[in-house]
């Protein structure tokens, strides 16, 4: 959810889109329209037939206008009726006390009739450490403790005391509790920390690799994940994994460039302009992960200098082109990475509303149907998908206080 009005000379004048970006660049009156445009687009995605619509949490960030994804999801819960609400997610190490997340996610699950996908990211270092002040070396420990509290709060039918290292609560008693039992599907978004794999496998959570750098670069990491899955003796259901991919669809490859290049480049050149130290404070990544990725993090910023559309397409940072091109490359992406869930990033940078809708519609009509049955042998694997309540009504059909005024509570 980027701010679409970053100036042309943003890179030259500011060192980072995140953490210390001047908030004078934000105009609340324009912001009003920006929020409604994005919310409308997410509702439109449901109308187009997408299985889910997503939001996430970022702070002090020029490309992520959702410090509270739960507020966005709450708005969507009332205006949609079918799509999963993928909140990917709440950076739980930063919530004091984390029971707040258990409560708000339960609220969302109840309001939406059991459509919540609950994401628990460790959070980027920009968000969790620099904006929310958590100590890098203790962040993962605090994250695990917050996770334990939330899951126990959802599972427990009696109040309990939680004596944690970072959180002490004498009375944990989650009211309300989620519709989906024992809990909504849990997605763990990871950037590339190898500890996250075991955490997902310990609990049978979905591992979501969220990257803006495309499936070729994601391949080695997901290969590592699947190797770990096999080593742990878990089944290889592709629904254990999700991947985020920037996608642009037009009638032809050439038209895709003409329509979308400037907006995608806005995203890569302005929105990903991050002061490198914010991305890698000492202690945020474990020594094991640093050694695994060696100096990759340090080199990333260099990689992003002066990217062109041709590079982005050729090196598959993005999947862009005609429906046929996008279909073929996405098949390669889905099969190559062995993923059951695809986060389609269809709005990019400062893309205007009509282009986002155009690309999304072409995708829904001409690409999506061809991707639905790529894993026939796992067709009935529902372990990582929502389980809404059967009798859920479309919210627009039943508005208590309007036509239903005076109705009795159902028993």
């Amino acid at each position: 959810m980027p701010w679409p009005y970053l100036p042309d000379d943003f890179r030259e004048r500011h060192r980072s889109v995140w953490v210390d970006i001047p908030n004078t660049l934000y105009d609340p009156r324009q912001g009003h329209h920006v929020y409604h445009t994005y919310l409308d687009q997410l509702e439109y995605a449901e109308a187009l037939g997408f299985d889910g619509i997503g939001c996430n949490e970022h702070h002090q960030n020029g490309y992520g206008l959702m410090p509270s994804p739960n507020l966005i999801a709450a708005a969507l819960a009332r205006r949609t009726s079918r799509a999963a609400l993928c909140v990917i997610g709440n950076s739980i190490a930063g919530y004091n006390p984390p029971i707040r997340v258990a409560e708000e996610f339960a609220m969302l699950d109840v309001i939406s009739g059991g459509r919540l996908i609950a994401g628990f990211p460790v959070g980027t270092s920009m968000d969790t450490n620099f904006c929310y002040g958590q100590i890098p070396a203790l962040t993962r420990d605090k994250y695990r403790e917050a996770h334990d509290m939330i899951m126990k709060a959802w599972a427990s039918t009696e109040p309990f005391a939680f004596d944690g290292k970072y959180n002490q609560l004498r009375w944990v008693n989650c009211w309300p509790k989620p519709i989906q039992q024992p809990h909504p599907p849990i997605y763990i978004p990871g950037g590339g920390s190898i500890e996250t794999w075991d955490f997902c496998l310990d609990h049978d959570y979905n591992y979501s690799y969220l990257s803006f750098f495309g499936y070729r670069r994601g391949k080695s990491l997901l290969d590592g994940y699947w190797e770990r899955v096999a080593k742990r003796g878990k089944d290889a259901s592709p629904y254990r994994a999700a991947f985020a991919q920037i996608i642009c669809v037009a009638d032809t490859d050439a038209e895709a460039e003409a329509l979308y290049a400037e907006h995608v480049l806005y995203f890569f050149n302005r929105c990903l302009h991050i002061f490198p130290p914010f991305a890698d404070p000492p202690g945020y990544r474990t020594m094991a992960t640093i050694k695994y990725g060696a100096l990759a993090q340090l080199m990333r910023q260099q990689m992003l200098e002066n990217l062109t559309w041709k590079q982005l397409v050729d090196e598959r940072f993005i999947i862009a082109g005609s429906p046929a091109t996008v279909r073929q490359q996405l098949e390669e992406c889905i099969k190559g990475l062995r993923i059951g869930h695809l986060f389609c990033l269809l709005h990019n940078g400062d893309m205007p509303d009509w282009k986002t809708r155009h690309s999304s519609k072409l995708f829904a009509e001409k690409v999506m149907p061809h991707l639905r049955d790529l894993w026939p042998e796992w067709k009935h694997d529902e372990r990582w998908w929502m389980h809404p309540m059967d009798e859920r009504r479309r919210p627009e059909e039943r508005r208590p206080g309007v036509e239903g005024a005076g109705a009795e509570w159902t028993r």
């Binding site: 450490n129 100590i135 203790l138 130290p277 000492p282 202690g283 020594m287």
Partner: protein
């Protein structure tokens, strides 16, 4: 000076640079660790029996997972003193080491001789915000740490050739490991409410500061002086935050004059 090692009762294992003879002086290093060359320790060892232990996660010292917060660090400091078999040593702390030394002296004011705090961390003044050392590019570090950044850069890397990728990787890994540990008491703001405990100090105290300190500016020297009644405050010219390394002779002279 020679390297040895001690194990504490808690289970950390720390390397100790030791040498000289005379009254015992324990030196606690800052967030960057001991550098390859530590001439001020050599000079101090001409007057005293000097012990310079490394914090866990620094160099080859281990047990960093056992220390999580300020109290852990301060008690670890005393555990080291015990493990070294010392009684009432003079305690000298630089930067983060000064912050820990001051905490130690507040916890057990009668267990040390004299206290020297060299540009200690641990206080915060809104009108003089301390730069965020966890958000610096590598080349910016020497600029905030040293009066003479060019010379400082060479001191920091200890002559390693960082254009060599393997050397760079090794330097980077060690540096990440050190600062991850330091972050437990310095991130996001190097203030763990030491100020409200300083009233407990009874040891004779010297505050020594580099006149050109750009990390913790000299206004903090005055604040420390005011917070510790009777403290002596000295400022060294031609030195920044890394004053023991930039002015080893003047630093040693001032310390020797104070410790006696």
């Amino acid at each position: 000076m020679t390297w040895g090692a001690v194990a504490t009762r808690k289970g950390t294992r720390c390397r100790v640079l030791e040498g000289g003879s005379g009254a015992p002086v324990v030196f606690f290093h800052g967030a960057g660790g001991l550098l390859r060359d530590n001439p001020f320790l050599d000079a101090l060892a001409r007057h005293y029996h000097v012990y310079a232990p490394e914090w866990p996660a620094y160099g080859e010292s281990t047990g960093d997972e056992l220390l999580e917060d300020m109290l852990d660090f301060a008690l670890h400091g005393w555990d080291l003193v015990d493990a070294l078999g010392l009684s009432r040593p003079h305690v000298v702390g630089h930067s983060m080491g000064g912050m820990i030394a001051a905490e130690m002296a507040c916890l057990a004011p009668r267990d040390l001789g004299k206290l020297v705090l060299a540009s200690p961390a641990g206080l915060w003044m809104d009108e003089h915000p301390i730069p965020d050392i966890f958000a610096l590019l590598p080349y910016q570090l020497a600029e905030v740490l040293f009066h003479d950044p060019e010379r400082g850069q060479a001191l920091l890397t200890g002559g390693a050739d960082l254009s060599d990728l393997e050397a760079l990787k090794e330097f980077y890994l060690a540096s990440q490991r050190r600062l991850a540990m330091a972050g437990k008491i310095l991130f996001p703001i190097p203030n763990r409410r030491l100020a409200k405990r300083l009233y407990r100090l009874t040891a004779e105290t010297l505050i020594v500061w580099g006149a050109g300190d750009r990390l913790i500016v000299p206004a903090y020297a005055a604040r420390w002086g005011a917070a510790i009644p009777g403290a002596r405050v000295e400022t060294l010219e031609g030195a920044g935050h890394m004053l023991p390394y930039e002015q080893p002779e003047a630093f040693t002279r001032v310390l020797a004059g104070f410790l006696g």
